[in-house]
């Protein structure tokens, strides 16, 4: 889990790097979110409000034409008295803070525990006029938190654009699919497939490796599995999915060596993750359970991998 948190804390760098520089002048500054009560303790994540702001900023950066102001700069320049969530913001203050951050839009918010789930509410302030609008998402007990944040980022993106006088755009989901090759009479199929997304298991992942899975724009944790009938390996990737993009799990393996795994953009044919040499594991790799993820306890229970029988790929003659 610590690894996942470290990756999420490092996301602002990725977010800025992934921004579309040719986009209209729309720069969103995302401030740390506040958390209600002992949310940090309940999530088991220190600075949960910061982690949520990082994920949100990263998700926003995938939504062209939205660009994101560097989160480090945002927090460095933050004067909490000038952008207190519970204080009305005047147009003059909004303009001044926007000028100092080179931001057209300011975003902050708060996370609430509500029953078995959470509510994430955001305040969106135009630095041009001071116009203030809101956005919110709530978990229904089954939706992964990253999907909530993806939906929230799209609401914020639309709001920011409308505040600038543009029409509200819509951003579509991305797709991800496995890859493989059929075996011969004496050899098994060899596949690399999606085994779990954000801690939620993909059923029959090996058999259905050609089945496209939909993922919302933004940050996701994609657990990839390699399998050739006898040898298996897995790796947990952090994928920043762009709206409408198609991704493919790819692999390379030389005989008797560990497989190399990565995720590739089908449009550009370029890797969008690092290439990882995945250690050959026991018959089925151990995917991170939902409870091991940063917001795992809010996700639905993940089935015990050891209790699942994985059907082998069909042989072809």
């Amino acid at each position: 889990m610590k690894t996942a948190i470290c990756i999420l804390l490092a996301l602002p760098v990725v977010a800025v790097a992934a921004s579309d520089k040719s986009a209209p002048n729309l720069h969103v500054a995302v401030f740390d979110f506040q958390t209600d009560g002992n949310l940090d303790a309940q999530l088991g994540v220190p600075n949960a409000g910061k982690v949520i702001a990082n994920i949100l900023a990263s998700d926003l950066s995938t939504l062209s034409p939205v660009t994101v102001v560097d989160r480090g700069a945002v927090q460095q320049q933050l004067d909490s008295r000038r952008f207190d969530l519970f204080k009305s913001m005047s147009p003059v203050d909004a303009k001044g803070l926007g000028r100092s951050l080179d931001a057209t839009t300011l975003v902050n918010g708060r996370v609430f525990i509500a029953g078995d789930g959470i509510v994430i509410a955001a305040r969106v302030v135009s630095t041009e006029t001071g116009q203030t609008l809101g956005a919110m998402v709530k978990s229904d007990g089954t939706t992964p938190v990253v999907d909530l944040l993806s939906n929230l980022s799209m609401q914020i993106g639309r709001t920011a654009l409308v505040q600038l006088g543009a029409e509200a755009p819509s951003w579509g989901s991305a797709m991800i699919v496995g890859s493989g090759k059929h075996g011969s009479f004496i050899s098994h199929d060899e596949v690399a497939c999606v085994m779990a997304i954000d801690g939620q298991a993909v059923p029959d992942e090996v058999v259905q490796w050609e089945h496209k899975r939909s993922i919302l724009p933004g940050i996701h944790q994609v657990f990839v599995r390699y399998y050739d009938g006898t040898v298996t390996a897995g790796y947990n990737f952090i994928l920043q999915a762009r709206p409408g993009a198609s991704y493919e799990v790819r692999y390379e393996r030389q005989s008797q060596l560990n497989p190399i795994l990565w995720i590739q953009d089908q449009g550009t044919q370029q890797p969008v993750t690092i290439k990882v040499e995945a250690r050959v594991d026991v018959p089925r790799p151990t995917a991170p359970t939902a409870s091991e993820w940063a917001f795992g306890h809010l996700l639905p229970p993940y089935p015990n991998p050891n209790s699942v029988t994985t059907p082998l790929p069909k042989r072809t003659k």
Binding site: P24, D36, G37, P65, L85, F86, K87, S88, M89, S90, P91, V92, A94, G109, R110, F112, I113, A114, G115, V119, A121, R123, V125, T129, G130, Q131, T132, L133, G134, A135, M136, K138, Q155, R158, T159, L161, V162, G165, A166, E167, A168, P169
Partner: protein, 202 residues
């Protein structure tokens, strides 16, 4: 209600719109109506006339006080929700109006000294907090007092309203924290879009 509040209430109250002779003739009309009903025997029982007159006068005074102390009527709420009051106040105090509040003490406005109120969507709120009943017209992004805490009122692009505060969250679908102790109705006021810009394509 204490004495100064009562004095203030009586000073602020207005007489019902009746002619001067109405009140002079009122006891006689009461008596006449009772006589017509055959229940009054003035000559045989003069104390009854006095009692009835006192009862009528007491009822009149109480009705007068209660009429002016009564919570805001639905008509008053509707007037605030429909927007003419808001439009007029925005015209009079451009950039200065934080909120209009209608409660048991009448209609109030919260004004800023300077024109520093952000031009955001107007929102109509009805809040029942125990015995207190208030209607507030304010704007997205403004702070109000609700459930004993400061909350920010926000509306989204679809006109849905949320209230957020420290340990307080309210929306039409879900509420948590101290918001659960307060009854809230909220709507965006659709007709007043004085500061919105026409959409332009990207």
């Amino acid at each position: 209600m204490n004495e100064p509040e009562l004095n203030r209430l009586l000073r602020e109250s207005k007489m019902p719109d009746r002619s001067e002779g109405y009140w002079d003739r009122f006891p006689d009309r009461v008596v006449g109506r009772l006589q017509a009903a055959g229940t009054y025997e003035a000559k045989s029982q003069p104390w009854r006339l006095a009692a009835l007159t006192m009862a009528a006068a007491f009822g009149l005074v109480m009705g007068f006080i209660l009429w002016h102390r009564a919570p805001p009527s639905a008509e008053t709420f509707a007037t605030l929700r429909d927007g003419p009051v808001l439009r007029e106040l925005l015209r009079q105090y451009p950039g200065r109006l934080h909120a209009i509040i209608q409660d048991g003490n009448g209609l109030h406005t919260l004004l800023s000294k300077d024109a520093d109120v952000s031009p955001s969507d107007p929102i109509w709120l009805e809040i029942r907090d125990g015995e207190a009943h208030r209607v507030i017209v304010t704007f997205s992004g403004q702070k109000i007092r609700c459930g004993g805490t400061d909350v920010i009122v926000l509306s989204d692009l679809e006109g849905r309203v949320i209230l957020i505060g420290d340990g307080f969250f309210w929306s039409r679908q879900i509420s948590t924290g101290s918001a659960e102790k307060v009854q809230i109705r909220a709507e965006q006021i659709p007709e007043v879009h004085m500061n919105s810009k026409p959409p332009r394509p990207l």
